[in-house]
Subunit: 245 residues, 2 copies
């Protein structure tokens, strides 16, 4: 950016200062995450983070230019954490349906273990906060992972897509367009794109999955499907079936 910065040689021994800076940047974020887990995003405060680290609050500004930037870092980390968990579950092996089930259970497990981080990314938006572009990539890891599974569900050439759902609704014009655009984005080449029907059903399964988790964590099942383990398991199977896994 600035010329002064560009003067520095590209390869150069890492100074103690730089190591310390990288470490503290990480420590600040981790302390913030710890507090987020306890009090939630709304009650998270820079001063409290600094206090816990034995620093003065103004010192944090050497590492994060504002509270919003720290929040952004936490959001990105949270998306990456669920994304990672989902990817690992899918990579675990087994049939497509088994990996689908594993992914759903892993995501739910992560959400229950980190309810405030879950709420930060899937709950009501933090008032006054506007998510920057940098969050988009991490946010897509889960849907992309599920899409990957979906590709395995496509019926062999010749059989109509979604053949198990005779009588179900058809994907119409505008929706098919959106689906095709997403499929093209994902694959690059339009050759083996996921058909609109399959993609839309996948999107609904994705929605259903997080709808379930949100209802469970946010208390809508209290007094009815509580605990929600069995409802969740049933729904996961139903979704797999609907999607053709």
């Amino acid at each position: 950016m600035e010329q002064g910065a560009a003067v520095r040689p590209a390869s150069r021994s890492v100074t103690a200062r730089e190591r310390a800076r990288a470490e503290l940047t990480r420590e600040i974020k981790e302390e913030a995450r710890r507090q987020l887990a306890q009090v939630g995003a709304a009650a998270l405060s820079l001063r409290s983070v600094a206090r816990e680290l034995g620093m003065v609050s103004s010192a944090l500004y050497r590492y994060y230019p504002s509270k919003e930037d720290l929040l952004t870092a936490l959001i990105i980390d949270a998306y990456n954490a669920v994304g990672e968990v989902a990817e690992q579950a899918v990579a675990g092996g087994g049939s497509a349906r088994e990996r689908w089930t594993a992914a759903c259970q892993a995501i739910r497990g992560w959400a229950r273990a980190h309810p405030h981080e879950y709420a930060l990314i899937y709950g009501s938006p933090v008032p006054g906060y506007r998510a920057p572009e940098a969050t988009i990539g991490p946010a897509t890891r889960v849907p992309l992972t599920l899409l990957g599974l979906l590709r395995e569900a496509r019926p062999p050439a010749g059989a109509p897509a979604g053949s198990r759902l005779e009588g179900g609704p058809q994907v119409g014009g505008a929706l098919a367009g959106q689906a095709a655009a997403i499929a093209a984005l994902v694959e690059g080449t339009a050759g083996d794109a996921i058909p609109p029907e399959a993609l839309v059903r996948g999107a609904l399964a994705w929605t259903q999955l997080f709808g379930l988790i949100s209802f469970e964590l946010f208390g809508q099942y209290v007094g009815s499907f509580d605990p929600a383990d069995d409802l969740f398991a049933y729904s996961v199977t139903q979704m797999a079936w609907l999607v053709g896994l």
Copy 2:
């Protein structure tokens, strides 16, 4: 409660003081709702509400004993508002599927028109707030309305429930127990209780409906299914089909 209060005659002209009190109680709540709509629940402040009404902040304590109580009133109102909207849509006439569609669209319409009220009841819980029992009744209006529709979906005696879903998952022991308990709660007599399969599918449709609305309002569809009108319409049809409407 207290003897002193019981001394008052049961029928008695309503004093000007009492009228003024009832009115102001209402006005405070409405001003609070106005501010909630603008800034969200987290940023709602008693002082600001009082300011806007031309009162001093301490005066509010004659009407609501604490901020939490005012929040509770807003939550109850919000649940009643969606509940009302859903009930009216269902009462509108037409086939069961038409009324189901109308209810879904009405609920979505309300949510889009009142995103902060929606977030208050279906988003991440307000930190430090514990919902009192009084919110339970209003919160059940929407699910009860949908359950009512579901009853019309039951196949005539003789046909197996959910006959359109051959190959789909079966409702197992523990889940069937929860479903039966809910059905019993709703109907009182166990005679014409909704069968577990139908009830569970209804609960999943309910979950899916609010999952969709949350994803739409909270920005998860940005860059993919945006606007979400067609995805929503498709999903509503799919749910109706799954549930047997």
